[in-house]
Amino acid sequence: MFDEKALEELKEAAKRWEESLAPTLAKRPERKPSFVNTSGIPIERVYLPFHLAGLEYERDLGFPGDYPFTRGVQATMYRGQLWTMRQYAGFGTAEESNRRYRYLLEQGQTGLSVAFDLPTQIGYDSDHPNAYGEVGKVGVAIDSIHDMRILFQGIPLDKVSTSMTINAPAAILLAMYMAVAQEQGVRGDQLNGTIQNDILKEYTSRGTYIFPPEPSMRIVTDIFAFCSKEVPNWNTISISGYHMREAGCTAVQEVAFTLANGIAYVEAGLKAGLDVDAFAPRLAFFFCCHLDFFEEIAKFRAARRLWARIMKERFKAKNPRSCMLRFHTQTAGCTLTAQQPKNNIIRVAYQAMAAVLGGTQSLHTNSMDEALALPTEEAVQIALRTQQILAYEFGVTETVDPLGGSFYVERLTNEIEERAMDYIRKIDEMGGSPRAIELGFIQKEIQEAAYAYQREVESGERVVVGVNRFQVQEPPFKAILRVDPAVRERQLQRLEKIKKERDSEKVKRALDGLRKAAEGTENLMPHILEAVKSEATLGEICDVLRDVFGEYQASVII
């Protein structure tokens, strides 16, 4: 991009400039002996054109909407359409969550994002003994299609896009959603949304696995195959770095481990006999937006470019859409403090801006009180307003990739891509990410980084306002949302009623059909759809699959 001779001259000039600083630095040294970001990338005093030597504009950056998509996946980005404002929400019963969704839509939210409670995520009905104390706590409790019907009452499913954070039982919740849509008279090709369906990161960081890796990957590819025909606009997976980042890994590791998992899903799809361009356009991604503003912006750009290259060069994808890394972002929950919680509004606002400057397709902004409890309505409203202020008042949306061409951001983009690729090579050498997870490599890397971070906070090297600097004595934060403990009772009553009133022969037939399919190689999705329509419960369906597939036993690594 630059004339080589001019770069050499500039390098000489820069050297002279650095030397001229010596007296100033001797008198007033910089604040730290070295400046390094969370990924361990050293940060220069100032970035100059020669830091981008070798960069070729069309090859490495290109036009927005064109390969390798460094500058964005759409040609006009936010000039055409703003990102989707999508707050992750759900708690208690389907009725309460439905009320929260309608509230959010009234407040101008543009997409839904469903949080399920842990029993639902792990495939237990609310009456399972292990569900005690957890029903309706971190999300909504869904036991059967009845709950799902209530959850989306009065919400036209052809008009909203819905993201569901569901992994091991993703096929079941998607089937329930499709069945409810059918009841509303909405066709499969009118449905828009996403299931997380990313089982690999459950083993490394999020923990809501049920089955061992092999049958889990089969469920994933069954979903790819089924959805490409039945719900063609549905994002069949959201390959997630978010949870690994929250568990402690660095920005580079987040890109590397996420894309390594992405590679594993593509390979699984190919192995199942699918054509890469038939399913790759429906792969979506999910990243965290942490504190280091420029590192995060560069991370999103690097991830886009690296994925495009992997898809084209490694998997020979021909459809440009297969090469597009479209992603959702959530601000970093782990950076919220329980101390002086209102400060979190500011943290979230900067993180949201970084996500937008990085070209996100949708965004969740955390609420200020999330280090204390589930967010209250007021806290969620401020979080949503943070996005609206950013979208409508700040002018960051007026041009595509406004930081493209910044020496610093472009250099960081290069370095993050290179370092992430080094990790991916290492993971490839181990035999791919499922094998690296089995060996505990990824878990160990995450834990090391988390421990290093904590040590930096405790030593004071990393300042956390309100935690290790600028502390105050403060009264307990009062406005806290509490889940009604009667939720469990209400779920149990409903469950009992369903089981009594449904056609138990029909349930049995559907579950038997599912069992046979699971034992063989037939696609599971039509059978799961049949089962949810027969009013079989989530727990019953998962029990059949547990029976056939077995359960995953994690090995403890510390």
């Binding site: 995520q121 792990i122 971190v138 568990a247 329980a338 101390q339 904590q454 509490r482 403890v556 510390i558």
Partner: protein, 143 residues
Amino acid sequence: MAASRRIRVLVAKPGLDGHDRGAKVLARALRDAGMEVIYTGIRQTPEQVVNAVIQEDVDVLCLSSLSGAHDYLFPRIMELLREKGVDDILVLGGGIIPEEDIPALKAVGIAEIFGPGSFTSDIIKFIEENVKDRSKTRGEGER
């Protein structure tokens, strides 16, 4: 505390919650501070946690929950410990626990709650100062 024995700690994740960054960081910090640490892994039932306390003959139990289920799980574990006659260990709690829940947890015998932003150095200090002398009651054999 007899000098011959290092403090033994069980770090446990009761319930279905998979967030164990804090539990693992703490386990590592306690180990670096010279304690013997056993981590249960995630998704333990209260019964499994209590069995591990007894099997491993620990001096300290650190419970972590971020899903809001502490209000059921922590008292249930304390109840099971009492039923099994375990009354000489130090029990600590951590995770996302609203301040107004703390008195009830302390009332069932949890010595202290360490929420978000806690320093591992403070937890280590608390354990060293409050661990009970179990030289008469603990299982046979020095480890």
